[in-house]
């Protein structure tokens, strides 16, 4: 007997439907578990006080500060570098062997898993350059990690800027760099911001590369040469060493919530950018 193709069609449709919602369901379940279990442990004191007894008691203030320091400093370094690369690739060259090499470099950096960044940051910044476990070593490692994201998103954003805007700027006696600085980059800012937000999200959530470069000191990092821990590292240590499940859940809430907000903000900016050009 031949099964009616229409029947198969409906059956498949239902199956795909279920699987798609299953995937989204996983996301919702993850977020829901973290929030339900964690929120009771989050309060003002938890966020603004120092940890005591290895994190068994007290709050997570230093790790919040450490996370912000790491994310902001690496963005500060990676943005000019990445944006500059994107400008070079889009405005200053035609596709050639040279740009292929650079793109190869960017693609390869994007494909390297974070543990290898950790390994590299550890041997290069921590050991060879004698930085020790420090905020600086963490920031430099993270800068290299997020560079590909910044380059790709900036490049797409710059390519989307209409050519006529450039022509108008040139006709008003602007040089190439003036045109890029005053017209192209301002018009591409939403796209560039999206890349920056996604990169911040990555820096906030990263563990493997950070734990071996920035270390895991519980103190508040006051200089670039101080070690410190980010929320993700703190959470990992609390959970893995079984120090305190309550504090671990509490940290997870703050961690996941900040990443969700950052990503949602990135989407919001991106959609605004898309609306602007179409």
């Amino acid at each position: 007997m031949r099964i009616n193709p229409r029947f198969i069609n409906r059956f498949v449709r239902m199956g795909l439907n279920v699987q798609a919602y299953f995937t989204v369901g996983i996301l919702i379940i993850i977020v829901a578990i973290i929030f339900f279990k964690g929120f009771p442990h989050v309060n003002f004191a938890f966020i603004f006080s120092f940890p005591e007894d290895m994190g068994r008691e007290g709050g997570i203030f230093p790790s919040i500060v450490g996370t912000i320091q790491l994310a902001l400093l690496s963005i500060l370094l990676a943005t000019p570098l990445g944006l500059g690369t994107a400008v070079f690739l889009t405005e200053y060259t035609k596709e050639s062997l040279f740009t292929k090499f650079i793109r190869f470099g960017v693609e390869s950096l994007a494909g390297i898993p974070s543990i290898l960044y950790g390994l590299f940051g550890f041997i290069f910044f921590v050991i060879k350059l004698k930085m020790g476990w420090s905020l600086l070593a963490g920031v430099l490692t993270m800068t290299i990690m997020i560079l590909p994201t910044i380059i790709r998103t900036s490049e797409e954003a710059i390519r989307a800027v209409p050519r006529q805007l450039r022509i108008v700027s040139y006709s008003l006696s602007a040089s190439k760099w003036e045109t890029i600085k005053k017209v192209v980059i301002p018009a591409a800012i939403p796209g560039i911001l999206t890349g920056i937000m996604l990169s911040i999200g990555r820096a906030v959530g990263e563990t493997a590369a950070i734990i071996f470069t920035m270390g895991s000191s519980l103190r508040l990092p006051l200089s670039l040469m101080d070690s410190g821990r980010t929320m993700a590292v703190h959470f990992y240590i609390l959970a893995r060493e079984g120090i305190s499940m309550e504090k671990a859940y509490g940290t997870a809430v703050v961690l996941v919530l900040s990443i969700l907000l950052i990503n949602i903000l990135a989407y919001y900016i991106m959609n605004k950018a898309i609306a602007r050009y179409s």
Binding site: R13, I33, G84, T85, F88, G111, P113, G118, A208, I211
Partner: protein, 287 residues
Amino acid sequence: MIDRTVLKERFVKWVLVAFALSSLLFLFLIFIFILAEGLPLFLKVGLNKIIFGMKWAPTKGHFGIFPMIISSFLVTIGALVIGAPLGLSCAIYLSEYAGKRTRMLLKPAIELLAGIPSVVFGFLGVIYIVPLVRNYLGGSGFSLISTCLVLGVMILPTIISISFDALVSVPRTYREGSAAMGATKWQTIYKVIIPSAKSGILASFILGMGRAIGETMAVIMIAGNALKIPTSILDPLRTLTGNIALELAYATGDHRLGLFSTGVVLMVIIMILNYIANFGIKRKIAK
């Protein structure tokens, strides 16, 4: 005389060239420093004894990482077995069935999943998946199957977004042509769209594998980290990434070099996977 604007333009251009070269420089540094630390041990102990060695006791001069290589491949393939059908189904649903509004809702949600830190996946794996496996299947629960389940979910966003892009870029005329022949939607998808998007779908699987084999924190929390080749899906295991992350903090001397040798092997595997995904498959698409 060259005037100031011209000089400034030239200066800017060279600064930008330097910026663009920085990515290559970083890649080069990463290569050189991992190789410089990782290769000496291959020469000293011998390639065979490391890659095919069964025993890892770095303080006693044994640097065999064969069980970890096998374990890394096992978790990667396991993750793919779970993640690939689910991910591809999602991508098909999103590109072919979902309405615009559903798509606008589901796509960001799936990409948010990619933003969840791997330590969170690991943590939830320990709290929920590990006991589930222990209670219903047996063993300690820290096992190959638990690791594959968690990794399978973690690679979903990669698989979904790349296959989705491949499916969406199949020309509309293909769909219309097939529909005009009286094919149902599923027949069109199965016979026309999936074959046309084959390369992109394959690339998504391979990049998903790359993500799984490189994953570290979630794996060391769930896998149990035992130093032998697992013989059942309930056995604990240690991956290449896990080996590095577990011991780097305190390793010195040859022990540390051994971890870099592990890194070299991992790097070679990742390079091969990326090469296949980026060049082997994309080139086919271009043709």
